[in-house]
């Protein structure tokens, strides 16, 4: 497996807050890497540093063999790195299809409008929005908007997908459906870096997990290794019985 994303020693400080300090991580092609950590651990900031929303204070980010440190977000997107936001960001007045068309038009394949519409239709259908293509994005439910984030990111035909809490706010049925969708995406060959709070989901989906605490890496390994790491259990999970519950369920 070759390395797709190499984050090397990145840091970011906001005033007096050291949001991320000297973090390194690697995502290999075709794998799902889970990024977990308590609230405020700096997970979303890591995403913002990777896709160019912020430039890191130190370190470098390399994607598909290219140095993308400090590159503006739209150029990072062109290279095939797409993102689904934690706080959904629909282009409210546009339809579901149009939202996805934006993703396809300006994504990795840089498609002309007509072809982009086809890709958009395909991806929206893939995540289960096929029957709501002409609906205005702002009128979707929360679950619908989460799916739209995903469909829009997929429309860019990315090599790597950054998923920021796509399960948050979904009910159990919707969560199951979303987990199945994420599995399908990985099966289609797209690597995924995901932030997730729902332990059961992240443990079962991820190939490897990186645990972040106070902006620094606390642990890294397979879900099993991370779950058994005493440091993780005390610092992040607090109570080891939670992990046992997580392992018990599939």
């Amino acid at each position: 497996m070759s390395e797709l994303l190499v984050v090397n020693d990145i840091s970011k400080r906001f005033g007096g807050l050291q949001a991320v300090s000297h973090l390194s991580l690697t995502v290999n092609e075709g794998e799902i890497l889970g990024l977990i950590g308590p609230n405020g651990a700096g997970k979303s900031t890591v995403f913002n540093l990777i896709n160019g929303v912020y430039a890191p204070d130190t370190g470098s980010v390399e994607f598909a063999g290219q140095d993308i440190t400090g590159m503006p977000p739209h150029r990072v997107a062109r290279l095939g790195l797409a993102r689904a936001h934690q706080i959904v960001q629909p282009l409210g007045a546009l339809s579901v299809l149009e939202n996805c068309t934006v993703g396809a038009c300006f994504g990795r394949e840089n498609l002309p409008l007509a072809e982009a519409r086809e890709t958009a239709r395909e991806m929206a259908t893939k995540v289960g929005l096929g029957d709501r293509l002409d609906l205005i994005a702002s009128s979707l439910t929360t679950a619908g908007k989460k799916r739209l984030e995903l469909a829009r990111a997929l429309s860019a035909r990315p090599k790597l997908l950054l998923l920021d809490e796509v399960l948050a706010g979904l009910n159990p049925t919707e969560t199951e459906q979303m987990i199945a969708t994420v599995r399908q995406i990985r099966a289609s060959g797209i690597a995924i870096l995901m932030i997730e709070h729902i332990m059961r989901a992240v443990m079962s989906l991820s190939d490897r997990i990186v645990v972040l605490n106070l902006g620094a890496k606390l642990a890294e390994g397979t879900p099993q290794e991370v779950a058994e790491n005493p440091e993780v259990i005390t610092a992040y999970l607090g109570d080891s019985t939670i992990m046992q519950a997580a392992e018990a369920s599939p």
Partner: protein, 320 residues
Amino acid sequence: MWRRPFPWLIVVAALLFALVPYFTNDVGMRESLLLAAIYIILASNLNLMIGYAGYVNFGNIVFFGLGGYICLYLVTAWHVHVIVAALIGGVAVSAVALLFGTGILRLRGAFFALATIGVNQAVQQLVVNFEPWGGATGIYLSLDSYKPFGGPMQALWWMYLLIVLLTAASMLLSYVIKNSKFGLGLIAIGQNEDAAAVLGVPTARYKALVYSASAFLPAMAGGLYFFKSGIIEPGAAFNLEQSIEAIVMLMLGGAGTILGPALGAVLYEEMRGILLTTQYLSHFQLVIAGVLLLIIVQFVPGGLLGWLHRLWPRTRGWLQ
């Protein structure tokens, strides 16, 4: 593009605009339609900024005024043909807008709006103190300038027809941009600029490009309009009131749509005509415009077309 009915609609409307006053030889109608045509050009190009990209350009009239100045200067000082002069004016103002836009479009929301007012006022002051352009008194045309058209009467007709042509061009530009990848990117910026950037839309470049594109036709129209008037002076060229009126027209008809700004422009022109000729209301035209803007923004933010679209969602498809 010509396979759709919409562009043909524009062509037919433009032909009616051009031919009806010509064949009825009705100069009064021509003058009133000319004003409407200018308004459509201003509102429609402003729509590219406000309606598509979501950036309120309060000082949009600077394009019109500067285009007028460049054109009249070239006609009087260099004896360039007015059509060529207007074209040069359009290109020059677009180029300046590209340069300015790259700078001021780093600002967002109200800060951008304020900056555009600043640009208009700064250019006005510059022109007031610029002697080759006649300073505060402006530039006057001699009757000789109309000779290439066979006299002032014919020149007025020519200018009218050319301005109608620019009106049609404005509408077609709105249509072409809206149905292009560029337009989709702009609308994405207008909806959520940060999300658009993450999706890969080159926001900075697109904003500067649309600012520049929205300057071209108004600048050309300014050239023809002030040539027709025979005089240009800073107060008339960089009249901020007209900028604000263009915003009212745009919001009245429906920002972001193609026909909306034109509809709003014609309605506003009619309303203005009625107000100006009504005894007790003649001084209240701008007051009423302001109140109208408040009402629209508060109660019908989508303007007339937006309201129609909401009433009958099916109209969204063909009445763009």
